[in-house]
């Protein structure tokens, strides 16, 4: 319990740190927001007035403290571009991004597990070779390119699946594969290696010596050991997927947090950028916290060592 509490404390620290960092970065970037918003050919007074309205003339530190205070009240500010509350815009875009990352994660985990196990079982055979080449390609190809390739094959050539938009399940398939394939490659390689490593543990020999069959040894004993590093990796892959969603959502013309960030950066819509980063950081932190907590249930050694 204490462990879980301390994890929460650390998570809060990470989120606060990333909010602060983003605040600093967007504010020292060149380009004056008020000038940008007011448009060309506007008298200086109007720009100044706008600056005052937005509170941009105050010292940075008080802007920062106001922002943080707002956060605690659930107020993320209003968009510069269309004066909508930031929170509403984020929530509108959260659903599609969540759907995309979760389905990509499922693609990564299911593909990674199956291929990783096959690769280890057929170690140094033809199938293993094919899987290893495929996973290497998956790991090393940028996902926007995979996305473009998928659109070309399945939408342009075969007319099987829609290439753009969000809403239907079909529209989710190609983007999830495009975004999930890197993770699948990473997980495949990791599962293969950790299965082979766990197979050399002395207790595996003992289990065979007790007449336990190959299959039971693989699925019950080896896989549980192999999962520990894979779970860590899932947390990290999730972070990469959030980053990747920015590109993938653009390629597939999907609505979502990634697109929102890109557009907001174009318009220097600082409250949106900050809010979106806050959401992403919180996501990432929560997922990794879950990962850390889940170890303790997969591997009792971690739990016992704390006693």
């Amino acid at each position: 319990m204490l462990y879980v509490l301390s994890r929460f404390g650390m998570a809060a620290g990470v989120i606060l740190g990333s909010v602060t960092l983003v605040f600093i970065i967007v504010n020292i970037l060149p380009g004056d927001v008020a000038t940008l918003l007011a448009g060309d050919d506007v008298p200086t007074e109007t720009v100044n007035q706008l600056r005052e309205e937005l509170g941009l003339d105050r010292p940075l530190i008080s802007q920062y403290l106001d922002y943080i205070a707002g956060l605690f009240q659930g107020d993320l500010g209003t968009s510069y571009a269309n004066s909508e509350p930031v929170l509403d815009r984020l929530l509108d875009n959260l659903g599609p991004t969540l759907a995309l990352t979760i389905s990509s994660m499922i693609v990564a985990i299911v593909l990674g597990l199956i291929l990783g196990i096959l690769s280890a079982v057929y170690q140094n055979k033809l199938l293993d070779g094919i899987i290893r080449v495929l996973s290497l390609i998956g790991v090393s190809t940028p996902n926007f390119w995979i996305g473009i390739l998928l659109i070309w094959i399945f939408s342009v050539q075969l007319h099987l699946l829609p290439s753009i938009g969000n809403g239907s399940f079909e529209q989710l398939i190609l983007p999830s594969i495009g975004l999930g394939i890197t993770g699948a490659g990473v997980i495949t390689r990791l599962i293969r290696n950790s299965i082979l490593e766990a197979s050399n543990e002395p207790f595996i020999r003992s289990l065979r010596g007790k007449g336990i069959g190959q299959r039971a040894i693989l699925f019950k004993h080896i896989l549980r050991h192999a999962l520990i590093p894979a779970v860590t990796m899932v947390g990290m892959i999730f972070g990469e997927m959030l980053a990747g969603s920015v590109v993938t959502e653009t390629v597939f013309s999907r609505q979502g947090l990634g697109r929102l960030i890109v557009d907001a950066i174009d318009q220097k819509d600082i409250p949106i950028i900050q809010g979106a980063i806050l959401f992403t950081a919180a996501f990432y932190v929560v997922i990794n916290m879950l990962v850390d907590i889940s170890y303790r249930y997969i591997d009792p050694r971690i739990r016992l060592n704390e006693k």
């Binding site: 204490l2 543990e201 002395p202 207790f203 020999r205 003992s206 289990l207 065979r208 010596g209 007790k210 007449g211 336990i212 069959g213 190959q214 039971a216 019950k220 004993h221 549980r224 050991h225 997969i298 591997d299 009792p300 050694r301 016992l304 704390e306 006693k307």
Partner: protein
């Protein structure tokens, strides 16, 4: 007696790439029902490969049976399918491996591992299997078996786990138990308990045991029949008496001889060079804090408790005691690898505790260390000359050429070819690697060497050669050693004086021969009696120390040993005995030191 297992002309090869390298050649061995057969030999002699072939586990480890038959109950199992072997393994032939810590899956409870095995071979419900397992744990004398079932392997001590592993092997009343070095990773006292347990189980269950060991003395303790393996073949087999009293083959002779040599020669007979004291400890203590939960009192492990000792120039002080007795920590304190919490370390009469960085560096130059694991002590990416020359680069300003010269010199001193300086650690055998470690330790001409289990990982023959080298270096360079090992015979062989440690305290310290012939502390006596011997007259008469070393977090009050001591009285429970000088250099911390004969009898 019916023959249970007949191995006929068995040959086994290990696949290396496309080649098949023969590992076992034409082995013939019979095991009768209820018989204990010991397979003895050095590492790489093919003992384990033979046993894995009998279980047909060799198929999974890159090997294959290239010839011969394995007749188990008159059925040739060498040609059975793995599917059929799964019905035999664990049910008729069971296995116990060397390191109990790694023999069980760490992520499942003890109980779950029993249930899995029992339900694999018998059609019983989960709760029936669970209860059966509790019965098995009782049979191997595990206290509170029901609560152990819910624990994970790492919550149990090594000795307990080996009992669990044995109980697990017994789950389906196998007819043959294959035990591969089952006591090698354990303390002598626990080893004696496990050997007794195996003998007891043999008598109760009438099962046969194929016992694999590198230790002749262990074989002498337990075997009905002994087969000696060397380079993949059985070179000699016969009854235990035949093998140990009248060895025929040269290899057996050399094994028996080197074991006898250990027992007859002792450094304490030889003259010491000097009476000058090099290193001295005065009442040093060390505690390690344990991780604790908030709002609870912090707990400490008392690793070393008020220890005082001295080491003369050219002298070897041996340290013995079960694991957890604080030997290693004491060693690290002596060479300032760890700071003592209280007490003083005197190097040549000068206090070196809490010195400056420069003083520490000077001390390090004169006090060097050799550890057990020969491989991890050497950087695998460095050449031997870089490894051995490193101390010179740190402590002196010699030129490259001079360093090379010194490296070659010191390689010669440890009986290695000076030309091997350009090779890497993995190109050497275990014994040679330990020589490299020793060479690095002596290149600065230190005065003191800490040898922490420095020969424990080596085969008997290699071990005695390294011991010879250490003795030679001591003679030539006037080195002082503190020598720790879990094999008592080796300690006796190399040491002038021996200190016995128990739960952080030295309970007895005496010249080596006197300690072995006339132990004064009941614990020393128990240790010595637990030590296996190839002297067949003494076979199986020993008194076995009960229980295990208590936790150093809550050591028993008074004399730490009173919980396991047959002589303990109220006084022992209340009052810790002080170290008292008996005669000469013998000192003991015991209210009732064993000098009178009746106490010896009482102990029996």
């Amino acid at each position: 007696m019916r023959t249970l297992l007949e191995i006929r002309n068995l040959s086994v090869g290990i696949e290396r790439g496309k080649e098949v390298i023969p590992a076992v050649r034409n082995v013939n061995l019979d095991i009768g029902s209820g018989e204990i057969v010991c397979l003895v030999g050095g590492s790489g002699s093919g003992k384990t490969v033979t046993s894995l072939a009998v279980l047909r586990l060799i198929d999974y480890e890159g090997g294959r049976i290239t010839g011969g038959e394995i007749l188990f109950q008159e059925e040739d199992i060498a040609s059975l399918a793995q599917q059929e072997m799964n019905g035999i393994r664990g049910r008729k032939i069971a296995m116990v491996t060397q390191d109990p810590m790694t023999a069980l899956n760490p992520v499942f409870t003890i109980g779950n591992q029993f249930v899995e095995v029992i339900r694999k071979h018998k059609s019983v419900s989960r709760s029936e299997a669970w209860n059966e397992a509790i019965g098995l744990l009782e049979k191997v004398h595990i206290p509170e078996p029901a609560s152990r079932m819910k624990q994970y392997p790492l919550e149990l001590s090594g000795g307990m786990l080996q009992r669990v592993a044995i109980a697990l092997a017994l789950a389906c009343q196998p007819e043959l138990l294959i035990a591969d070095e089952p006591t090698t990773a354990l303390d002598v006292t626990i080893q004696a308990q496990i050997l007794n347990l195996l003998l007891e189980l043999r008598a109760e269950e009438g099962m046969s045991i194929l016992f694999i060991t590198h230790d002749l003395a262990v074989a002498a303790e337990i075997a009905d029949k002994v087969a000696v393996m060397h380079e993949g073949s059985i070179v000699e087999q016969g009854t235990a008496l035949e093998i140990f009293a009248f060895p025929g083959h040269w290899y057996t002779k050399s094994l028996v001889q080197s074991k006898h040599d250990l027992l007859t020669s002792s450094a304490s007979d030889e003259n010491r060079q000097d009476d000058e004291i090099i290193l001295e400890a005065e009442g040093i203590s060390k505690v390690f804090p344990l991780k604790s939960k908030p709002f609870q009192p912090k707990k400490y492990v008392q690793a070393v408790d008020e220890v005082s000792l001295y080491i003369r120039k050219g002298e070897t002080l041996g340290l013995v005691g079960e694991s957890g007795s604080g030997k290693s920590t004491l060693g690290k304190l002596l060479v300032s690898l760890q700071e003592a919490d209280s007490g003083q370390i005197l190097y040549r009469g000068k206090d070196v505790t809490g010195g400056t960085k420069r003083e520490k560096k000077e001390l390090r130059k004169n006090t060097q260390v050799v550890f057990q694991d020969t491989f991890s002590a050497l950087n695998p990416r460095w050449k031997v000359e870089e490894i051995i020359g490193e101390p010179l680069r740190v402590h002196t300003r010699l030129s490259k050429g001079e360093i090379r010269e010194r490296v070659e010199e010191v390689l010669q001193l440890v009986d290695l070819d000076p030309a091997s300086r350009t090779r890497y650690p993995h190109e050497f055998s275990g014994g040679q690697r330990q020589r490299i470690n020793i060479a690095r330790a002596i290149i600065l001409h230190p005065e003191f060497l800490l040898l922490d289990e420095a020969v424990s990982a080596l085969d008997l023959a290699v071990q005695s050669k390294v011991i010879e080298l250490l003795k030679k270096l001591q003679q030539e360079m006037g080195l002082s050693y503190v020598f720790m090992a879990h094999g008592l015979d080796v300690v006796r062989d190399i040491s002038h004086r021996i200190g016995v440690m128990y739960l952080g305290r030295i309970v007895e310290i005496a010249p080596a021969e006197e300690l072995f012939t006339k132990p004064a502390h009941p614990y020393t006596k128990a240790l010595l009696e637990a030590n296996p011997t190839i002297d067949l007259d003494h076979k199986r008469k020993r008194h076995v120390l009960h229980g295990e070393i208590p936790s150093p977090v809550n050591p028993p009050a008074g004399c730490h040993f009173h919980t396991r001591c047959p002589l303990a009285t109220e006084k022992c429970r209340l009052e810790a005995p002080a170290m008292e000088l008996l005669i000469g250099e013998r000192a003991v911390a015991c209210h009732y030191p064993l000098e009178k004969k009746e106490r010896v009898e009482l102990l029996r």
